[in-house]
């Protein structure tokens, strides 16, 4: 017996055995993404649900297990006058003196009685206690081109210091014009509740924004539901539309509706954005829709 040859054979045999044992251990721990049968079933179920809802998926579903905690936030307090000066300086620079600011305690518009209106020059700022602030610009024809393009809108936002934590999100278009959306971010996590919508309408562009002051993350982290489950839960409730729509964005972030509160906790959500501009939020802990 050639001992050397026998050792070689045994080495190969045990090497193959150890590779097999490692694979089995890896499968046991559930880390393996190679579950062809389970994955296939899930895909079939999703495809069927999408078909029934009249939706197509034009983006990849995030994979992997994520953990998240509640995020504690509070309303952002600001001085309307300072805000106006910031916008004015970003628009005009320091070369033009800011106009006089006139304050009307209540908006005359029906349904907006709880909001305060500030007039400066030809423009107005509308603020409410627990909602977004709205800047309406009324430019003369020759001035309107100042913030008419997307790039100019982005530059304007970047010049305003209290909007430094906003990043471009997406754009929509309709017959009136384009609307550019920004979202707030905190430590790299999207905070969808905070937003800027920049309506690039000729001569009457407007900026609507809502910002949250972040206190911090809660201590306890927990596992969020997989994106596939969130999609299924969304499709169960989706009422559909006349046209065939598509899902263009599917991402994890934080969302809350606006509250008139001192501070509150907000949950992580899966955000589902359709090509027609509709946005849905699914609570990433419970799978219930967030309204």
């Amino acid at each position: 017996m050639n001992l050397s040859r026998a050792k070689t054979v045994l080495i190969c045999t045990f090497l193959a055995l150890n590779i097999f044992l490692c694979y089995q251990l890896w499968q046991d721990q559930g880390s393996g993404k190679f579950e062809p049968f389970g994955q296939k079933e899930e895909i079939t179920k999703l495809e069927s649900a999408l078909l029934n809802a009249g939706l197509t998926l034009e983006t990849n579903l995030p994979r992997g297990t994520e953990h998240a905690a509640y995020l504690m936030v509070k309303p952002w307090t600001f001085s309307p006058r300072e805000l106006i000066f910031c916008f004015w300086e970003a628009l005009e620079g320091s070369r033009k003196t800011a106009p006089e600011i006139k304050h009307a305690s209540r908006s005359a518009e029906k349904g907006w009685e709880d909001r305060a209106v500030y007039f400066f020059g030809r423009h107005e700022l509308i603020v409410s206690r627990a909602g977004p602030a709205i800047l309406n610009f009324h430019f003369k024809e020759e001035e309107a081109k100042k913030i008419y393009t997307e790039e100019q809108a982005r530059q304007l936002v970047s010049k305003i210091f209290f909007l430094h934590d906003f990043v471009p999100d997406y754009t929509t278009s309709d017959e009136k014009g384009k609307v550019l959306y920004f979202r707030q971010e905190y430590e790299g996590c999207p905070l969808y509740a905070g937003y800027i919508s920049f309506s690039l309408f000729e001569r009457h562009p407007s900026v609507q924004f809502y910002r949250l002051e972040v206190v911090g993350f809660a201590e306890q982290k927990r596992e969020v539901i997989p994106s596939s489950m969130a999609l299924l839960r969304f499709l169960e409730r989706y009422e559909g539309s006349k046209n065939e729509e598509s899902i263009v964005d599917f991402s994890l972030g934080y969302y809350t509706r606006e509250y008139d509160a001192q501070r509150w906790e907000i949950p992580p959500v899966w955000r589902i954005r359709l090509n027609n501009g509709e946005i849905y939020y699914i609570n990433a802990f419970t799978g219930n829709p967030e309204i």
Partner: protein
């Protein structure tokens, strides 16, 4: 050299395969030490037995020697509790075997030979099987124990009337327990009440056409009024002048289905100090949300804290008021029976804050989405009323749709006890207010009772004032200060 390396590699692979086999066979070691789960009692108070869920609104005692006089005892009184315990032990004997249907004339015949009778008026009605398991399906609104020499009758009235005769095997102790130990004479108002707003009297027009004497004085009405004026008590009511006699008369019709008992004897009461019940907020949140970590917390500007998981919400106000809503359950309609609603309501009350002594179920309303149950706290026979005081629960088969809880607990009496102003004066005062609001209309009297009224709630201790509560159709309930008869 090569052979040594190969031997080393082979030995390593053998040991590795043994290690991997061991891991695969016995599993990985635990990542952390498990801890024994900690169990805690979910209920604030232990669930009540079925017979404790509904107590009668009043217990009325009558004996043949006193003819038309009736002694009435209300929830929260010591005598009420004692009589209820004794009566319940007797009523439990009313099973199917002894009960048979009777009509009104048969009932009258039974009363003719009775030496005494004790009546339990249930409002809300009591499912008989709460008292007697397996009994006939009957929602009882009145239960009588009619005592004779050698036996007693039980009469149960719901949609039908049943009676049963049980030969006397009550021991002397139990018999004594069925007799009140103190007097509490009341009169039952009925028919049309003609109020003289000038004289502050009330004439009850029935077959007898009697005039009700003001309580506690033993004097005829005129003399009582004069005495009251001399003591400066009646002036607050502003009696009208004599030549406007027609305008000073007012008629009140007592609602047909109402049994309005008013005290004939003088009733004493004083202001009391109450404190907001102290409910463990963390335990309350855990009771509503099985996993509190799923409920996010919102601190509102008014100091209230709101917990929600997106499907249901719990709000705890700074005053201690607790409010819970589960809108999703409202959309799911599953009918629930009356007795199931009562049992579930009692269970949920124990789970969501507790069913404390002195709390009684006072009303149960059937609605499209289930039942709405109301609880109040009683002190010495008088309910504690006020804005959003008490507990309200909307319930269906799925669970609780709405829950509002705001209970106060008695600390001590403050000030001296004084007699309530006569009920006739309270009625006249209420009538004056009604006349101003609805001139020319005749009112229907829905209720009159003495209560404690909490004029303003708060976080710490609050004061409750004795008052007359008067309800006339078309108008909100009026609360009149027990001494001055001013609106509270």
């Amino acid at each position: 050299m090569m052979e040594k390396i190969k031997s080393g590699v082979l030995a390593f692979l053998i040991i590795l395969s043994m290690g991997l086999t061991y891991r695969l066979w016995f599993g990985a070691p635990p990542l952390e030490e498990g801890i024994k789960p900690k169990y805690e009692d979910a209920y604030f108070t232990a669930p009540l037995s079925l017979e404790e869920i509904i107590a009668p609104a009043e217990i009325i005692f009558w004996k043949e020697e006193e003819k038309e006089k009736e002694h009435v005892f209300r929830r929260g009184e010591k005598e009420f509790v004692r009589l209820l315990a004794a009566g319940t032990s007797v009523l439990k004997r009313a099973d199917k075997q002894i009960l048979s249907r009777i009509n009104d004339s048969e009932e009258e015949a039974l009363l003719k030979t009775a030496s005494s009778k004790i009546t339990f008026n249930f409002s809300p009605v009591l499912p008989l099987n709460f008292l007697v398991p397996g009994a006939t399906a009957l929602d009882v609104h009145r239960a009588d124990i009619i005592l004779e020499e050698r036996y007693y009758h039980i009469i149960l009235e719901g949609e039908d009337k049943f009676a049963g005769r049980i030969f006397m095997n009550l021991n002397e102790q139990l018999l004594n327990n069925l007799v009140p130990q103190r007097s509490s004479l009341h009169h039952c108002l009925s028919g049309v009440l003609t109020l003289d707003l000038a004289e502050l009297t009330c004439r009850e027009l029935q077959e007898k056409g009697r005039e009700i004497i003001p309580q506690g004085t033993g004097l005829p009405a005129d003399e009582a009024k004069k005495q009251g004026q001399a003591e400066g008590k009646i002036s607050a009511v502003n009696p009208a002048k004599g030549n406007e006699k027609e305008e000073t008369s007012f008629s009140l019709i007592v609602a047909n289905n109402s049994k309005l008992f008013v005290p004939v004897e003088e009733m004493q009461a004083g202001e009391i100090l109450l404190k907001k019940e102290n409910v463990d907020k963390e335990q309350l949140v855990r009771a509503f949300f099985f996993d509190p970590s799923m409920a996010r917390r919102i601190e509102e500007r008014d100091g209230a804290v709101f917990f929600t998981d997106g499907e249901k919400g719990l709000r705890i106000y700074p005053s201690g008021l607790v409010e819970y809503t589960a809108p999703k359950l409202e959309r799911v309609f599953t009918p629930v029976s009356y007795s199931t609603a009562l049992q579930k309501g009692a269970e949920y009350l124990g789970l969501y804050g507790g069913w404390l002594p002195g709390i009684y179920l006072v009303r149960a309303e059937g609605q499209s989405e289930g039942y709405r149950l109301f609880w109040e706290t009683f002190y010495e026979g008088l309910p504690i009323r006020g804005e959003r005081v008490g507990c309200e629960m909307a319930i269906n088969e799925q669970g609780v749709l709405f829950y509002q809880r705001n209970f106060y607990q008695f600390i001590e009496e403050v000030g001296a006890r004084q007699a309530f102003r006569p009920f006739e004066e309270a009625l006249c005062r209420a009538a004056l207010i009604y006349k101003k609001t609805f001139p020319g209309s005749e009112g229907i009297l829905l209720g009159i009772e003495p209560v404690y009224y909490l004029s303003s709630g708060g976080k710490g201790t609050v004061k409750a004032t004795p008052a007359w509560s008067v309800s006339i159709s078309g108008m909100d309930t009026i609360y009149l200060h027990w001494q001055t008869l001013e609106s509270l």
